[in-house]
């Protein structure tokens, strides 16, 4: 298994290089002159000579690949440059914004799992009954709800109409509830359906009736066998949904006015703050890949059959 993990890690390297290249191209190909953007961001209207000086200073006069390698080597040293907008280190801005986003994504994930496992298994056990139909209907609608619609609806109902949750909460646990729920609602709809399908599949397997005939309690069958076998599937879809979760934070943070990676991304784009956009794309992708790697490893862990492959 360690060899497999090592192989995964090695495999990481070309993908990382590719990602860095694309992140770099993103900015290189973007319209507008970075030197000019940088100068105007500082509030000065640049003269031609100031522009030329700045181009040299930023290394923009060098050939494409030189620029890429210069950029890459400083990124590897942990230096992602400074934001054009406020001259802060990109790294510091990202590290400052990351925790809030990660905590939000993680709590959304936890809420999702807490809702969808019980409901998924419950509907699987009662399939064909009214409860199954109702929950099936709700989750089906939930899948079709874009997170910005859910977010606005929650904000309107809980903050404005019911006044349960204050609107101005840039931090704290209370501020986390609505955005995390927004993300969780769309995700758990998907999860409930998949868990139900997997559980139905598992429950119809012959070994279950075997266990039942041997007098093993329903509780044990559910938790010791069914749930354990569903776990593999659950981990896979968790890994896949991290990407959409991170993307969802952009929308959700902008609706709920939360400081985090998403709001930074939007303001960076608004200000054409190239180094920050670049840094953010790179970082989010790294986090995403890391989570996928962990999922992969735990996947091997939970399903011994795969270990030897």
């Amino acid at each position: 298994m360690y060899r497999k993990i090592c192989r995964r890690l090695l495999y990481f390297i070309p993908v990382l290089i590719g990602i860095s290249f694309i992140s770099f191209c993103l900015i290189y190909l973007a319209p507008g002159d970075p030197a000019e953007v940088r100068l105007t961001a500082a509030g000065v209207n640049p003269s031609a000579s100031a522009l030329a000086d700045m181009r040299v200073k930023m290394g923009l006069d060098r050939p494409f690949f030189m620029q890429y390698f210069n950029w890459l080597s400083s990124v590897l040293r942990g230096d992602m440059g400074r934001s054009y907008a406020n001259d802060m280190k990109v790294m510091d801005i990202i590290l400052g914004a990351l925790p809030s986003t990660l905590v939000m994504a993680a709590s959304a994930m936890i809420i999702t799992i807490c809702i969808s496992i019980p409901l998924g298994i419950y509907t699987a056990l009662h399939r064909g009954k009214n409860v199954d139909a109702v929950i099936g209907c709700i989750s089906f609608t939930g899948i079709a709800l874009p997170n910005f619609i859910v977010g606005i609806a929650l904000l309107y109902i809980f903050s404005y109409r019911l006044k349960l949750i204050p609107i101005l909460n840039s931090g704290g646990i209370k501020g986390m509830i609505l955005p995390a729920c927004t993300l969780a609602i769309t995700m758990s709809s998907k999860y409930i359906r998949q868990i139900r399908a997997a559980a139905v599949d598992e429950l119809s397997k012959p070994y279950i009736s075997g266990l039942r005939s041997r007098g093993i309690s329903e509780f044990d069958i559910l938790f010791k066998n069914v749930l354990k076998n569903i776990m593999v599937m659950l981990i896979t879809i968790t890994g896949i949904s991290i990407g959409s979760l991170l993307g969802g934070t952009v929308v959700v943070e902008s609706i709920f006015n939360r400081p985090g990676i998403g709001t930074k991304m939007l303001s960076a784009i608004g200000a054409r703050d190239y180094p920050l956009i670049q840094g953010l794309v790179l970082w989010i992708t790294l986090v995403f890949m890391l989570v996928n790697l962990i999922t992969d490893i735990s996947y091997t862990w939970f399903n011994p059959k795969i270990r030897n492959i």
Partner: protein, 271 residues
């Protein structure tokens, strides 16, 4: 009894199929035959609540919301279908090539695929759309960049299975060209899985486009698109909720139909 089930199954499917076709045709036609000109200002009062003259009310410029929802349906539905078709075709072609030839081509193309797959779709899309500037075309490019990857993976794995089948070997022996084998012999056998995936992804694409529009990277003024209409309507949620609710409701409804259709299609093709 099995037969009975099958027939009911088929009936549901054709019903949904008809609904999907109806939606597509309607969005195409209604885009041109709206009750009011969707761009005309002051067709009624500003922010008029829903009534007989304006079924969904009017917006902050006095434009008819129903007309804009209909005009927007063309943009939203057609562009997501085009997006899905493009990424499905492109991804499938690459995937079949990789799966069939294997070797260096496979390694290179699949690594590129891995790289794009590594980006969280929405994040890259926001960055690309933001840097290219607004506009529907740029938004479509932004989503396309990440959406083709899943088709490529799927097509590749399916092709690798088909490649070892007897009929492929037979075709090779009888002197068929590679292109012929790939697209005449292999493709028809794997296409159903891809079509199901594509059908299920129409609503995902719709959500993606609307999401970008919502964040302000969508269509140009004065054109209507559901995501941007919802974003504009968000400002008036307290005073004129219909501005956001009408496009949101229609959008969710259309996505549910497309999802149902995708699921039924999958069930039928899997049966």
């Amino acid at each position: 009894m099995y037969n009975n089930f099958n027939r009911k199954f088929a009936k549901d499917f054709w019903l949904l199929f008809a609904a999907v076709i109806l939606i597509i045709v309607l969005s195409f036609i209604c885009g041109s035959f709206t009750p009011y000109d969707p761009h005309a200002l002051k067709t009624g009062g500003l922010l008029e609540p829903p009534g007989i003259k304006h079924i969904f009310g009017t917006d902050d410029h006095g434009r008819d919301v129903l007309s804009r929802v209909l005009a927007g349906s063309r943009t939203s539905i057609l562009s997501s279908i085009i997006l899905v078709l493009l990424s499905c075709t492109f991804g499938t072609a690459l995937g079949v090539i990789c799966g069939y030839f294997g070797g260096l081509i496979d390694i290179i193309l699949m690594r590129i695929n891995d790289i794009f797959l590594a980006f969280p779709g929405m994040i890259l899309a926001v960055a690309i759309a933001g840097l290219l500037g607004g506009g529907l075309f740029n938004a479509l490019i932004a989503i396309f960049v990440t959406s083709w990857t899943q088709y490529a993976r799927l097509a590749r794995s399916q092709t690798m299975v088909q490649k070892e089948e007897a009929f492929v070997h037979a075709a090779k022996l009888s002197g068929c060209s590679d292109i012929n084998i790939m697209f005449v012999h292999i493709l028809p056998n794997i296409i159903s899985t891809l079509i199901v995936t594509a059908a299920m992804n129409v609503s995902v694409a719709m959500m993606g486009i609307a999401g970008l529009s919502f964040l302000g990277f969508g269509v140009k003024i004065p054109h209507a698109e559901w995501g941007s209409m919802i974003s504009e309507g968000k400002k008036y949620l307290q005073t004129a909720p219909w501005m956001a609710l009408a496009p949101a409701g229609v959008m969710v409804f259309v996505m549910i139909i497309f999802n149902l259709f995708g699921e039924k299609l999958r069930d039928i093709l899997a049966a």
